[in-house]
Each structure stands twice: as structure tokens, then as C-alpha cells.
């Protein structure tokens, strides 16, 4: 399997299936890699792995708690990559982390280490267009798809540039706020999805506050799919086992539909 993240997602989308990308914080529990397998088996189209950072500015309480727990357990970038290299899953893996972890050596070394371990995508939510140049070049040189985020507050001109420069997919942020579960989908999400779909053929996935099956299905209707993070991590922090998390992902998969495989 040598497709890029973007090629893989476009192929999946081509089957008529809304895309589903669940998230787990690497190192949050000793058996976190079992969670990745459970997600893949439950119908995930890719899996997002959080590399924990001590000061996650864009994350709500759930991901913060998961990050703190992983750091306290001694999780390191190298340790995560060693475990990732041993994973045998048939969907692409995407790293999510903050700029400070990327710049510890150089963007080029960081990206090279990710691809060497088999990761195919990278999301750095505190690296907007203004700062992304060096990282984007380094990722491109490694064949790693650097996913950019689009926000409800982004101007049309910025959305155009984001859709042009993002690789893998475009990460559409549903709301002005942090990650975390919410009661309802804001109206601005539909507008953002519509604008992005006008601007690009790249897959557009919604994330931030996708809290249940119905919300996932509703949001997928405005774009190509969803990222589900805090809702899963809340369950994990409350003691859910990989099998139960997999069942939850499967229930979202059913709500979204399977497409024609």
C-alpha cells in the first residue's frame, strides 16, 4: 500500500462513502496501539494519532487530559514512532501535534522520521499559512501530506490558499472554539463546508466537536467526512476498552453509510 494519504482518501470517497477519521492520543494508555487496530477494523478510513504536547492551546479539556496523561506516562516522539512502525493496519496514519514538537530538531528531520515509521499525514494546528512554508516544503520532500486547517473566520482568499496548499484533505473546523464535545452543530459549519467544496476537489473533513452519530452524519452531508476525537477520548479516559471504542466507531460508520465497496 503506497498511496499517499490524499490518493487513498480520494479512492475511498470514490466508492460513495463518507470518510471517517477517528483519533487517539498516542501513549495515553499502554495499549493505545490496540485502539488504532480497533478503529481500522471498525471501518475507519484513516486514523489520527495525537503526539502529546504540554501546552495544547487549541484543545479542550478532554484532549488536554489525555495529553497530560500520556506525557506523565513518559511518552516521547521516538517512542511513539517505534510503536507506529510495528503497526499493521490497512489505512493511513496521520500525526497531529503542535509546532514546538516539530521544531525541536528541524522540520525536515521531523517529517523524515514520520515517514520512516510509516505515517502518511501530518496536522499542526498552530502552524497557519504565515508559518507553514518550511514545514510544507519539508513534508512535500518526504511525500508526507501536510493537512491545513480552515476556520469559520477565514476569509475567502485565505480559504482559497488553504485549499491550494493543503495536502491529504482540508480540515474544516466546525466552530470558533477548541476541540471538545458539544450539544449542536453551528450553522457556520454548513457555510464553511459549502465554500470549501466550491474551492477544491480535495477531500474536506469536518472536525472539532463531532460528538455523536447524528452529528457525524449531518456534518458529512456538508463535506466529505468527519474527524472524531474528543467523543472517543472521553470514553477512553472514562475506562472504555479498545473493543468498546471500536464498536463506537462502527456505530458512526453505520450512521455515515458504507458506500459501495
Amino acid at each position: 500500500m503506497t498511496d499517499s494519504l490524499e490518493e487513498f482518501l480520494i479512492a475511498r470517497r470514490g466508492t460513495g462513502r463518507p470518510l471517517l477519521v477517528p483519533y487517539v492520543t498516542a501513549g495515553v494508555t499502554p495499549g493505545w496501539t490496540d485502539v488504532v487496530h480497533a478503529y481500522a477494523d471498525a471501518g475507519a478510513d484513516a486514523v489520527e494519532l495525537g503526539f502529546p504536547f504540554s501546552d495544547p492551546m487549541l484543545d479542550g479539556v478532554t484532549i488536554q487530559e489525555a495529553s497530560d496523561r500520556a506525557i506523565a506516562a513518559g511518552t516521547t516522539v521516538r517512542g511513539i514512532l517505534e510503536e507506529v512502525a510495528t503497526l499493521d493496519v490497512d489505512v493511513p496514519l496521520i500525526a497531529m501535534t503542535y509546532s514546538n514538537l516539530v521544531v525541536q530538531q528541524s522540520a525536515a528531520e521531523f517529517c523524515a522520521a514520520l515517514t520512516a515509521s510509516g505515517l502518511r499525514g501530518l496536522i499542526v494546528p498552530d502552524s497557519p499559512l504565515e508559518e507553514v512554508g518550511e514545514l510544507a516544503d519539508a513534508a512535500a520532500a518526504e511525500g508526507l501530506d501536510l493537512v491545513l486547517l480552515a476556520a469559520p473566520s477565514s476569509s475567502r482568499a485565505r480559504l482559497r490558499e488553504i485549499t491550494e496548499r493543503s495536502r491529504g484533505f482540508v480540515y474544516a473546523v466546525t466552530r470558533m472554539g477548541t476541540t471538545g464535545e458539544r450539544g449542536e452543530i453551528p450553522e457556520q459549519a454548513a457555510r464553511l463546508g459549502r465554500e470549501l467544496k466550491e474551492l477544491t476537489d480535495r477531500p474536506v473533513l469536518f472536525g472539532f466537536g463531532v460528538s455523536n452519530q447524528a452529528q457525524a452524519a449531518e456534518l458529512a452531508g456538508h463535506a466529505d467526512g468527519v474527524v472524531v476525537a474528543s467523543a472517543l477520548m472521553r470514553k477512553l479516559l472514562d475506562g472504555a476498552r479498545p473493543r468498546e471504542l471500536g464498536e463506537y466507531v462502527a456505530s458512526i460508520r453505520r450512521a455515515l453509510g458504507q458506500g459501495v465497496r
Binding site: M57, P128, E131, S154, T178
Partner: protein, 414 residues
């Protein structure tokens, strides 16, 4: 307009008129430092603040209003005080203090908050949020919000809320809501994270009244410009008092706002040494310190590329200082740049050295300084002994020590 006779702030006073060629570039970079490492969602708000500030700083009406508040409310200009009895311990060098401790609310923070509160009004926003460590920036923000009729929410680490209960009460009395932050180390850095989370959620009606020269562009520039009056006044006053420029300027550095405030007007005066003093806490070798420029490495924290106290993985390390105002694992990007270009020199002062200087100034001159400022005083004592009796050192006495009496009572067994 009254009480502005003889002095009206000019655009050049505010921004240095670009004469030193050290303004950040369009992307907010000081060399490799600074920038905007923030979520995409916040970029339009930062653009809006930057654009409004660019208009405000050349708008005579804005400058007059700011100047009026500085004079009639904050108590500017602040005086210089020469401290010969204190300076006896500095090898006989002349030491002159810039008395920011005499401003309303008792520290240099008032300069920045008045400027940004006026900017908030121009932005058409009705709510300000701020982070605070010791509570000084929180109190100053609550003060400006009360003065200008703005809703005010202050984020403060839960540990700090306990340590600084008096300042929590002051903020509440001034009408602010104080939100204790229970995440992470429950101190200043976590309060900043939480304030950013609030801002990204409520940005349509809220201005983040950032308290120091750190954070994403344009905050390092705006906060510096509003604090810059300290050095502008002090430079004129030193020429009047001594007939020449000082040999060195000394200031404490946490985030770095009081230091950049007094340094900036002197950056073009190449013969004037600029010395910043960070907190060495229990000593650098103890690992319990806040000496970011001395011991940190380059990273990205709170939206800015700068020196950071961090482990090999890039996880932020909890800092320590007896002075809550210096207890921060990052530092403003312009200081990082001054360090790397060699224009500024940065040192670390232990808790014990700072407390000795704190007590010495009280006993020899009848001035109780803030413990933050005491780091600069301790630095000036060392510097005086190095530079010799012919030297003149200007020290930014950035705040007064009333807030530190609890710490002093414990430390000195009073």
C-alpha cells in the same frame, strides 16, 4: 484636554519612528523569533488588531487620549530617584531608579493596559480577557476595564489564585470575573492557554488584552510600544539629571515588558549597555528556576518562536521563582533577538540575591520594591562592581513591593 501641558505623546514616542530599524517585519518576526504560531481561527482577529493599531498609533486623537490617561490617571511622567546609600554596595557606581512603582496600581503594567483598553474601544469590542500570574496584570486590566466600562474576565492558575488571594479580591472589587485555571501546572502558562481558548471562542466581541511582550504578532510590538514611554521619559530625564546617557540600563525579565519598555529608547545608543535579569530561582543547577534566555532553547510557545524552558522532547518545563511575575517558561521574541544579536545581555539572579537587594533598598533608601524589580537591583549591584565607580546605571524599578509583603514576612521571618 487638561494637564497635558508641555508634553504630548507623539507617534515617534510610541513606536520609535522606526529609527532603530528594529521593528518586527510584516510577519512579526524579529530575526527568526516571533511570528504567529496560532490556530487559523485566530488569524483574522490578529489581523484586525494589527490593522487597528497601525491606524491608532499615527492618529493624533488616539495619542492625545492615551497621553491624557497616562498623565492624569497613571501618574506619568514617573520620576527618577538616585540611590547613593544603596549604591555604596555597588562599588560606588551611580545608580538611578526609574520609578514605575509610583504609577497607579503600582507597576509598569498600567501603561500597556491603558493603551490596549483604548484600542479595544476602537475595535468596537466590549469585553476584555487577560491572563495573570501574580495578579498584577489582572489587577491592571480590571482597573482599565472599570475605567472604560468594559466587561473583564481574568484567567489565573488555581495555584496562583491561592498564593495571591489579595489580588484576586482586588480584581473582584474592580468588577472583574476571575476564573481559576485547573489545567496543567495551574500557573501562568496554563492561564495563557486558557485565555487563548476563550479568545478563539468569543473573538467577535472580545479583545485579548495580552500582558507582556510575548505571544503572537502583533502583541510583542503593541505591548512594547505602550510600555516604551518608560524609556522615552527616562532617557530625557537622565540627560537632565546627569548631562549624559547612562552606561548601562538594567531591568528584570520575565515575559519582558518592563525591560523592553525601558530598553527600547536606548537600543540606538550603542554605547549604552542593556542588561536583563531573569530569575535563577533556587539556582540554575537546582533546575528550579525561570532563566529562559540563560538556560532555555529555541522553541514555540504561546504563539511565538522564542527561547523556552523545555525538555529534550519539547515539553514545557515548570518554571520557578520567588517572584510570581518572573515565573514564566517563555520570553518575548524581541529579547530573544536582542540576546542573539548581542545588543542585550541576559543574566540570572537567584531568589536569595533578589531578596537581599529587596531588603537593602528598603533599609538604605526607604523604598520597598517589587521582588521582580529586586532582580534588576541585585543585577545592578553586581554590574556596578564590574563597571567601576565612574559608571552610571539606570534601573527600572518596575513595581512596588506591597503585594510581596506576605512573601517577605515568610522569607525574613518578620
Amino acid at each position: 484636554m487638561t494637564a497635558t501641558d508641555g508634553f504630548v505623546l507623539t507617534a515617534a514616542d510610541l513606536a520609535g519612528n522606526g529609527v532603530h530599524g528594529d521593528d518586527p517585519d510584516l510577519y512579526g518576526k524579529f530575526g527568526i523569533f516571533g511570528g504567529r504560531y496560532v490556530p487559523e481561527a485566530l488569524i483574522p482577529a490578529l489581523d484586525e488588531v494589527a490593522a487597528e493599531y497601525a491606524k491608532a498609533k499615527v492618529d493624533v486623537a488616539f495619542l492625545r487620549e492615551f497621553d491624557h490617561l497616562l498623565r492624569t490617571y497613571a501618574g506619568r511622567p514617573t520620576t527618577l530617584t538616585e540611590v547613593p546609600r544603596f549604591a555604596e554596595q555597588a562599588g560606588g557606581a551611580r545608580i538611578v531608579l526609574k520609578r514605575e512603582d509610583l504609577t497607579h496600581t503600582g507597576a509598569h503594567k498600567i501603561n500597556n493596559v491603558l493603551g490596549q483598553a483604548l484600542l479595544t474601544k476602537r475595535l468596537g469590542k466590549t469585553r476584555v480577557i487577560a491572563e495573570t500570574g501574580a495578579g498584577q496584570h489582572g489587577v491592571a486590566t480590571a482597573t482599565a476595564a472599570a475605567l472604560l466600562g468594559l466587561e473583564c474576565v481574568i484567567y489565573m492558575g488555581a495555584v496562583d489564585c491561592e498564593r495571591q488571594a489579595l489580588n484576586v479580591a482586588r480584581m473582584k472589587l474592580l468588577g472583574a470575573t476571575v476564573v481559576p485555571v485547573h489545567n496543567g501546572s495551574q500557573t501562568l502558562k496554563d492561564a495563557i492557554n486558557e485565555a487563548f481558548r476563550d479568545w478563539v471562542t468569543n473573538v467577535d466581541r472580545t479583545h485579548y488584552l495580552f500582558g507582556t511582550v510575548a505571544g503572537p504578532h502583533p502583541f510583542p510590538e503593541i505591548v512594547r510600544d505602550f510600555a516604551r514611554i518608560i524609556g522615552v521619559e527616562a532617557r530625557r530625564q537622565m540627560l537632565e539629571l546627569t548631562g549624559r546617557l547612562p552606561d548601562a540600563v538594567a531591568a528584570a525579565v520575565g515575559g519582558g515588558s518592563n525591560a523592553i519598555g525601558i530598553f527600547h529608547a536606548f537600543i540606538g545608543d550603542e554605547a549604552v549597555q542593556l542588561h536583563g535579569y531573569e530569575a535563577a530561582g533556587h539556582g540554575i543547577s537546582s533546575g528550579r528556576h525561570a532563566a529562559t534566555l540563560t538556560e532555555g532553547s529555541v522553541g514555540v510557545l504561546h504563539g511565538s518562536r522564542t527561547y523556552v524552558l523545555q525538555d529534550e522532547e519539547g515539553q514545557t518545563i515548570d518554571s520557578h521563582s520567588i517572584s510570581a511575575g518572573l515565573d514564566y517558561p517563555g520570553v518575548g521574541p524581541e529579547h530573544a533577538w536582542l540576546k542573539d544579536t548581542g545588543r542585550g545581555t541576559y543574566h540570572a539572579i537567584t531568589d536569595a540575591e533578589a531578596m537581599d537587594a529587596f531588603a537593602l533598598l528598603a533599609r538604605t533608601e526607604g523604598i520597598i520594591p517589587a521582588i521582580e524589580s529586586s532582580h534588576a537591583l541585585a543585577g545592578a549591584l553586581k554590574l556596578g562592581r564590574e563597571l567601576g565607580p565612574e559608571a552610571t546605571i539606570l534601573v527600572n524599578l518596575s513595581g512596588r513591593g506591597d503585594k510581596d509583603m506576605g512573601t517577605a514576612m515568610k522569607y525574613f521571618n518578620l
